[in-house]
Assembly symmetry: C2
Homo-oligomer: 393 residues x 2
């Protein structure tokens, strides 16, 4: 294949001596970012409660949007007509889109409410009509119409959306299926990956790049097969996806079974994972980028990520903050973290003022961006263990 | 009385030759503002969807908070303990608080929802238990407990809140009562005004100033009596309040019946009024400051204030904006007005993304602040009529 991604690059600039952690520079047509880094979720072409300017002010390098939501509303054609996601949203830095598969297979009814409230366990997927070799059919959560998503259409939609980093279409297998199902599914995702590559290449103009996704559930042998597949194909990057098990240990097993067999020189993205403890655990295994909704989602529940706090977070709704005149964290150096007392944020939450969400979202993103800056500095200095103890005492 | 407000001042710097419009400089311990100016509503100690820093970025000079809401949640004692409203909210410019009276008498059940949705017409005030010479008793919308508000307690609460510009406690008479009731009510508000002055003076340390409020409904003779009362007493400023009638004409009649009898050298505030057409109408009658929730409230309904648009506003939910790639108004010179297409804001509204509210709120406040800057320049240049045609074709 002729895919060589001339406008993209990934340079590994430093390797940790004590672990698999590495520093890299990920180049895209919309700028380069240092890795390890964190990709914040702008599900519906917007980070909840943050403008692009505000995202930059809190140190953000890269964001993502979700193909599933955007194909339904406002539709990929409209976004293409408006000049693509960068022009539409005003975010001028690197951007990633997923393939839509995760939401189709896991969200079921597809309401963000269920996702946001953690109520959807993937077991009552009533909107998913069929999964065949060709692709899948599901019902739109916006208007109920039936929609077919295939490897080819997932590529077409992502092409129209115009992000820098694209994901192959894959089947996202749930936790409760058996190994046989997981194996057949993983093999279909491999065939879907080849169709994505073919479709991607057909329209490739150098503006975008494609990641392959390692599937295989919690089964080491399946993960290895899937990882070797991605390595052998001309993907730009490697993503670890699908079912990661029910515990931190299973999640680590999955990554340990996958990455040694993936392409060693490509950027590695870990799909949907990103608590502070996960960052420390998985940069050591060679993960370069993370994405997760929790920095923004937890903010909407009154929760602030904090450096050096047991359990990573505090909840500002707690009555203990009613008269706490201290700011969240002056070391963050941003307005949200420095210029509002916990007592004021507590009041705003009680009064249901949206400013509380804005402050906590900005603070959480600033905190995670600072975490990533400190992680990169610690990898360079060989002090990742020390840093981890500072963040997670 | 010894009230002389040493840390406050109001200098009338220019008078329009063709109308009663005037330019002024209103000095407070938290800075001076040029008038005419617009006071934005931060009901619960927060402008909805805007931080103080963001308020400054869109050109804001002065904001207000509502005594009624803050006395119930989080309580004046807490805000005092946290250093007062300026310290609590982070807003370091001039600030006004009302007396709580308007909400007690007009909001009834007291839910902001009713106020926001325009559902409360003041006829089903079930939370107001009694109005006597001493004051009034109402039930908290937060927890149902009975609360007494008197001239003295309204002053005490506002002293603890710590704003610069305070309002006397008055009875806000509804539109449907007769002239006799309105007259008796206005007379009681006069007695309440004297009690407010006495209580204010008892604790005066120079940090705050007090406005008298002209009541009297839509009756010219009552308005005159009330205006002359405020003129004769040592208030720092004059506010026009109460029932303003059911039409623009009645509202103008009320102001025309009031202001010629008020103190000519004091700043004049018009309570709760502030559409663009109102600004042009009432600066000509000598109003110096306005406040109204509509710039922020209408933003939450998808509505943008626009210069030169019939009816003052457009609604971005309208399907005509689905593919409109133009920004709201680049002349405003702020991020919200310049860097997002109407199509994008339309999408955000359809997707129920809070960023839509943030963008429209910032745009509306920027637009009104620009209006006030242009109004001041036009008063100076004697071109108010020309400017009005530009804004309201």
């Amino acid at each position: 294949m002729a895919l060589n991604y001339p406008n993209f690059g990934f340079d590994i600039t430093h390797r940790d001596k004590k672990s698999g952690a590495r520093l890299g520079l990920l180049k895209t047509p919309h700028g380069s970012i240092e890795t390890p880094n964190y990709i914040f979720c702008g599900t519906k072409a917007a980070i909840k409660a943050m403008s692009p300017k505000q995202m930059r002010e809190v140190g953000t390098d890269i964001i993502l949007s979700n193909t599933y939501h955007l194909m339904l509303q406002p539709g990929a054609d409209l976004i293409q007509k408006m000049g693509g996601l960068h022009r539409f949203t005003g975010w001028d830095g690197p951007m990633l889109t997923d393939s839509g598969g995760f939401q189709v297979f896991s969200l079921g009814e597809g309401t963000m409410a269920n996702e946001i409230k953690g109520k959807n366990k993937g077991h009552d997927n009533q909107s998913l009509t069929s999964i065949t070799e060709e692709g899948c059919v599901f019902r739109s959560y916006v208007d109920g119409r039936k929609i077919k998503l295939t490897p080819e259409s997932a590529m077409e939609i992502q092409r129209k959306l115009g992000a820098d980093l694209l994901m192959q279409f894959d089947e996202c297998t749930p936790y409760h299926v058996d190994k046989n199902y997981t194996a057949r599914s993983m093999e279909m995702s491999i065939r879907w990956g080849d169709r994505c590559l073919a479709e991607f290449e057909r329209h490739d103009n150098g503006a975008q790049s494609l990641y392959g996704i390692i599937q295989g559930g919690v089964y080491e042998d399946l993960r290895r097969i899937s990882a070797e597949y991605t390595k052998d194909r001309p993907f730009f990057g490697t993503a670890v996806g699908g079912c990661l098990g029910g515990s931190d240990e299973e999640m680590e097993l999955v990554v340990r079974a996958s990455l040694p067999h993936a392409h060693p020189d490509r950027p590695v993205h870990f799909l949907g994972i990103g608590q502070i403890k996960d960052i420390f655990r998985f940069v050591r295994l060679g993960v370069d980028t993370f994405d997760c909704v929790i920095p923004t989602r937890l903010a909407r529940h009154g929760t602030a990520f904090m450096k050096g706090v047991p359990g990573e977070t505090i909840n500002l709704k707690n009555a203990r903050y009613r008269e706490d005149n201290t700011p969240l964290d002056e070391e963050n150096g941003v307005d949200a973290s420095c210029n509002f007392s916990k007592a004021y944020i507590h009041h705003l939450l009680k009064a249901k003022e949206v400013l509380a969400i804005q402050i906590l979202t900005a603070h959480n993103i600033a905190t995670i961006n600072r975490l990533m800056r400190e992680v990169r500095a610690a990898i360079k200095a060989g002090t990742l263990d020390v840093l981890e103890k500072e963040w997670l005492p």
